[in-house]
């Protein structure tokens, strides 16, 4: 039971981190390594606001807003200019990581930070000791991911997003303002990264390296779930979270660290379109 709860907790964090990345990759076709940098920047911004006595929830909202703004600015000033060149987009995102990492180290230094926990205490459930703040994070992530998935699959604007992801040229011919949609997608992706970063910061300490750990996991998840599939992303997050949690519970710690990479290698070699994806040209 303890392993299941840990798995769900990891799945919640990974799912939030990967969902934004899926939207950005699906709509802009950019392998955005900077997603992790935005995630960790949001955690630091929130910590800074909290240190200046701003209430936590206000700090979190301010940080999400700021990171969404940074995302929009990045899309307009950098990624829009390289939109037809995947490699250039990827390299630009690596440049952004270096810039954000440098800013973080200069402003906040290498020491680890943490955010206030959402709740304290624990509950006993089927013999397992479950931390209340982790249960809250699972609940918040489940609500946020379900709402985001429903919005993308049912709401009118979500359909616009999917149309641009499927075929930007046809979407443009059908009157959709593709450029605006792309900017909005990047902004939403950045906001989701910020949301994930803040939740991660409440559950554990973090430093500048947090982003790179999560962005690789996020990439593994979107490959597991099938690139561009938001439902697959949620499924992939659950699989990876569970695999990691059970690995830690039942295997040597060194072997457990290799579990996500082994899962990725197996999926890519056996079913490169992902567990929930269809065969695609991109593979």
């Amino acid at each position: 039971m303890q392993a299941v709860a840990s798995g769900l907790f990891l799945a919640a964090l990974y799912g939030l981190a990967a969902f934004g990345l899926t939207i950005v990759y699906g709509v802009l076709d950019i392998l955005n390594f900077a997603h992790g940098a935005l995630l960790v920047l949001a955690a630091y911004l929130t910590a800074e606001f909290v240190l200046h006595d701003v209430p936590f929830w206000v700090s979190a909202l301010l940080s999400i807003g700021l990171i969404a703004g940074v995302g929009a600015l990045l899309e307009l000033s950098v990624f829009r200019r390289v939109e037809r060149d995947h490699t250039a987009g990827l390299v630009a995102s690596i440049g952004v990581i270096a810039i954000v990492g440098s800013i973080i180290l200069q402003v906040w230094g290498p020491e680890p930070y943490s955010l206030p926990r959402l709740a304290t205490g624990s509950v006993e459930f089927f013999g397992a000791n479950l931390l209340i703040d982790r249960l809250l994070i699972i609940g918040i992530a489940a609500v946020a991911l379900t709402a985001a998935e429903l919005y993308i699959s049912r709401a009118g604007w979500g359909k616009v997003l999917r149309a641009v992801a499927a075929d930007p040229d046809s979407a443009y011919l059908n009157g959709i303002r593709v450029r605006r949609v792309k900017t909005a997608a990047f902004t939403i992706g950045a906001a989701l990264a910020a949301f994930a970063g803040i939740l991660i910061g409440t559950a554990s300490t973090f430093d500048a390296s947090l982003g790179e750990q999560f962005v690789l996991k996020a990439f593994i998840i979107i490959i597991l779930g099938g690139v561009g599939s938001t439902k697959g992303t949620i499924g992939g997050a659950i699989i990876l979270g569970m695999a990691e949690a059970f690995g830690v519970a039942y295997l040597d710690i060194a072997v457990a660290q290799l579990v996500p990479l082994a899962v990725l290698a197996m999926v890519l070699l056996v079913r490169p379109q992902g567990l929930f994806g269809k065969v695609s040209q991109r593979v």
């Binding site: 990759y25 390299v91 810039i99 490169p272």
Partner: protein, 340 residues
């Protein structure tokens, strides 16, 4: 991944560029000889790290710039080689040369195994699988008792004199000379390869895989060859780096180092034969000479990379080429006017 950034030297031009290769090789020798003018340990240190990064980017340029495969595994392959080298030295009587050859050989075998699995994938999938491979390698070493876990392994000091090829006492200059010779040989081999039949096949596979296939090339074999050759260079770089730092630790091959190699190569000019030379000089200037804090360096490099990607996608090499063309045209125009 046939993209703007990747098509700096179309295959067809390769045949007519032998003269520029000679100039490049001469430039490599000249740049490598520069620190000897001052002979200061400080300059030798700067130049050695510059050469090491030139080697990493040379390896990456072979597989990404020439063959079009965006691999993030090069530093992982270097780690395989460096750890093998140190472990063989510590646990066998094979000697430094044998250990170095074993390390490089294992890096080549690892890149062959990696290519069998990864080269069937494309673009995003290939990049992520190679990154996962590099991180898996460092995770294994960081958790392996024999490899010293996160503290790594020290390289025996007595190794260096045995690797010195002209005198027994080894100073900074001697080790630098060893690095310079290895780099120049690897660089010359890469220039030769680029102009060879195999190199042109690699470039044609990079530019248009279907066309290359219809011309009789086997894309999988060609890409595997590029991957293995770049693995050999990465293996040599890993051993030289281990000897320079007298230490192998997983941190030397982490994500930051992998991304630094990518940024240096793109800034220098992905696919350009001059890129490794420019990348080595760039690293020396940005990370050694420039009087700024360590935190600022990565930020400055990041800003330059973003600007180059947006404004000058061919990197410094293509700007240099454009400048040369401009000067030649001006000169030709002036000669015509004089004739009239």
């Amino acid at each position: 991944m046939s993209t703007r950034l990747e098509t700096r030297t179309p295959a067809i031009r390769g045949v007519t560029r032998r003269r520029s290769d000679r100039w490049l090789l001469a430039a490599a020798v000249l740049i490598c000889a520069l620190p000897a003018i001052w002979g200061s340990p400080l300059y030798y240190g700067w130049a050695t790290t510059g050469l090491l990064w030139a080697m990493w980017t040379l390896s990456l340029n072979m597989v990404w710039g020439t063959a079009g495969q965006f691999s993030l595994a090069q530093l992982g392959l270097g780690a395989v080689s460096a750890y093998t080298f140190v472990l063989m030295l510590d646990n066998t009587d094979i000697g430094p040369v044998g250990a170095a050859l074993s390390g490089i050989g294992l890096a080549a075998v690892a890149s062959l195994a990696m290519s069998v699995a990864a080269l069937r994938l494309r673009n995003f999938y290939f990049a992520i699988l190679t990154l996962a491979f590099a991180l898996a390698i460092t995770t294994v070493f960081a958790n392996w008792e024999l490899a010293g876990r996160t503290s790594g392994l020290l390289v025996q000091r007595s190794v260096l004199p045995e690797l010195s090829f002209w005198r027994p006492s080894v100073g900074y200059g001697d080790f630098y000379a060893l690095c310079a010779v290895v780099f120049v040989v690897a660089y010359a081999a890469s220039l030769f390869l680029t102009r060879s039949f195999a190199g042109r096949a690699m470039q044609s596979v990079r530019d248009d895989e279907k066309l290359a296939s219809s011309l009789g090339h086997s894309p999988l074999s060609i890409k595997t060859l590029a991957f293995v050759l770049s693995g050999l260079v990465a293996g040599a770089a890993g051993i030289l780096q281990a000897l320079y730092f007298r230490l192998v630790v997983p941190e030397l091959y982490d994500t930051q180092a992998i991304l630094l190699a990518v940024m240096l190569l793109v800034l220098a000019g992905l696919g350009s034969p001059a890129a490794p030379l420019i990348a080595g000089v760039l690293y020396t200037v940005l990370y050694q000479v420039l009087p700024v804090s360590g935190e600022s360096r990565a930020g400055i490099l990041g800003v330059i990379v973003v600007l180059v990607v947006v404004l000058a996608p061919g990197g410094i090499a293509s700007q240099g080429r454009a400048l040369l063309t401009f000067v030649r045209r001006r000169r030709a125009g002036a000669e015509k006017e004089n004739d009239v």
